[in-house]
Every structure is written in C-alpha cells, then in structure tokens.
Subunit: 193 residues, 2 copies
C-alpha cells in the first residue's frame, strides 16, 4: 500500500487483442492515469501520432539513451528498437499518477526482473486465436509476413500469462473495460502490494 506514489501497470497483449481501445478508454475516463509513451526507431505508420503512439527517434539517438542508462527497459524487435524512457515514468509516479506501460512479454518480464512484484501485470487476450487473426487482418496496417510473425509471437507470449497478475479475455469490450477499470480501482485497496 503506497499512498504517496502512483503505481506502474504493465499491460501486454498480442497485437489485435483490443489493448489500445481498452487503454485509450481508461485514459480518457481516469485523469489520474497516464500512459508511458515508448520510444522507437521504427518509421511512423499511417494514422499514428508522434509523441502519442510513440516517440520516434533515430537509431543513433536511441543508442545514446541506452548508453546514458535512460531506459527502464528496451528491446530490439525485427530491426528496430523499442524502449520505455525511465525519467517520464519516475516523474509521473512521484506525482501520484498511475502509469500504464503497454509492452510485449519480453519487456514485461524485464520490468519484473527490475521492479519485482511492485507493478501490476495485466495480460489481455482475444477470446480465440481465430479472432486474433481476423482482427489483425482487419487493421490492414500489417503485411502478411508481419501478421504471420505476430501470430507466432502471440503463441509464444501466451505461455507467459502465468507470470502476470491478471488476465482479461476481451470477449465483450464493455466487460473487458469494466474488468480493467476494476483492476485499477481495487489495486488502490491492496494491502502489501
């Protein structure tokens, strides 16, 4: 029970599980919750907003931040880097904000190594794998190769669900949101975590 500081919520989900919709709704309705915007070296995609979806930087810039120990965690996926800037998270937590970090399983497990059981780890899944493929195809932002990669990655990631605190099956978006919100509210009352 830490009253004087916010809490870090680490959220992972296979692409297409509906994570972004759920998190966006929570951010809109809960002024005390902020999102840690990840930094990446990959190119901006259509529809994305710089500084909101990601902070887009060059490889050189990214590597200099690595050297300065400025990431809570970072990873290389395909040819690109993704990382969670340390300073932003620390500042928000001190200001009693809850911080959402949406990262993949690898990143989440790194956070767990560094921060132990202090953050709340949430995994979001679509009801079926078939649905996952459908959702990915529907987005039309990923190539066939990337979809295949993401499906394979998802299968790997699901094996790590046991290391999370909560699992939300996004079968019905209203129920899934209610559950996500309930996790945030109830965590405020948790003793000894």
């Amino acid at each position: 029970m830490t009253k004087n500081q916010g809490r870090l919520f680490v959220i992972s989900a296979p692409s297409g599980a509906g994570k972004t919709t759920l998190v966006d709704k929570l951010l809109k309705l809960c002024p005390n919750v902020v999102r840690s915007v990840s930094m990446t070296t990959r190119l901006i995609r259509k529809g994305e907003i710089a500084g909101q979806d990601y902070i887009y930087v060059s490889k050189e810039k990214f590597q200099s931040i690595i050297k300065a120990n400025g990431f809570l965690e970072y990873a290389k996926v395909f040819d690109n880097y993704y990382g969670s800037p340390k300073k932003f998270i620390a500042t928000q937590l001190k200001q009693q904000k809850d911080v959402i970090l949406t990262i993949d399983v690898q990143g989440a497990m790194n956070i767990k190594k560094i921060m132990g059981d202090k953050p709340v780890f949430i995994f979001i899944l679509p009801p079926k794998f078939a649905d996952l493929k459908k959702r990915l195809l529907k987005r039309k932002t990923d190539s066939a190769k990337e979809i295949a990669y993401r499906l394979k990655a998802a299968k790997q990631e699901i094996k790590c669900v046991k290391d999370y605190d909560y699992l939300i099956i996004n079968d019905d978006i209203k129920i899934a949101y209610q559950q996500l919100l309930a996790i945030f509210i109830s965590t405020k009352c948790r003793i000894g975590k």
Copy 2:
C-alpha cells in the same frame, strides 16, 4: 484462477464501519454473489430477521453441530456462539456462486488457517475512530458496556489488517461500494489466486 467454482470473500470490519450497508448493496446488485448466514446462540435483536441476519439456534443445537464438524469456523463471544455452517458455503461455491462471509478477525484468521490464501480477505474501516463511536451510538441497539467493548475490540482488530488482501476506508459510501465491487470483479481476472 478457478473457473469452475465460486470464491469465498471473507469480510471483517469493526461494528459501525458500514459493512452491512455495503454488503447488502453488493448482494442486491450482483445476483452471482450470496451471503453465508452465520449461526448464533444469541437472542434475536429488534429489527433482525431470522435466517437473514443470523440463523438463531439453541446452545444444545449449536454444540451438536460442532460435534458433527459442521462449522467451517466458530467462536464464542461473550456467552454466545457464532459459527459459519460448512455445508451451505460448499454448496454455493460448487454452484459457481461467490460467497461472502462477514466475520470478525478471529474467525477470518481461522478461515485463513484452514483455507490458506484461496479466499479473498477484505477489511472495512470507518475513516476515524471517532466516527466509529458515533456510528455505534447512532445505532442505539448496543448498551454502553457493549459499545466500550466493541471499541476496544476494534482497536485490537485493526492490528490484524496486514493479514488481509484489501482495505476499504469507508469515508464515502459511494466510493467504498465502487471499491468493494471492483475487488469482486477484478478477482475474476486474478491469475494464480
């Protein structure tokens, strides 16, 4: 995560913390949650309903159930027995109902000894001790002697809060209810508990 069975929620609170109001509201709005009605040998009080507030039995009857190992836990407070009938709880859990057991700290700790960390342990507190006394006096159902006893007991009980999973400070009944509900909803998503 047990999908096939309900879960036991053990709720403790000093008398006057607003526990009954909160639990009654939850029971009214959540059809999947039931309350385990305790059995007691004490006399029925004005305003209480037999079978709803307590199951009122004679000392002989109570002792025969003790002998038959029919209580999940029981305790003697003043000259009276209080106990949680085992069969009702087991039946409800099997029917995938969540069961609320409102008992004192002594009873809750007994449940913890028997069932480990499987149940969810919730403690409800009024914002201040002064408020607790005020609420007890307002009820007008307890004698001065009993109020003094309850306040002393409450002080003792608060020392055990650390053994619970959640603490709700009932400062604002709406927020307290939202928190109680959030604990029930989020528990459905808990992994490994």
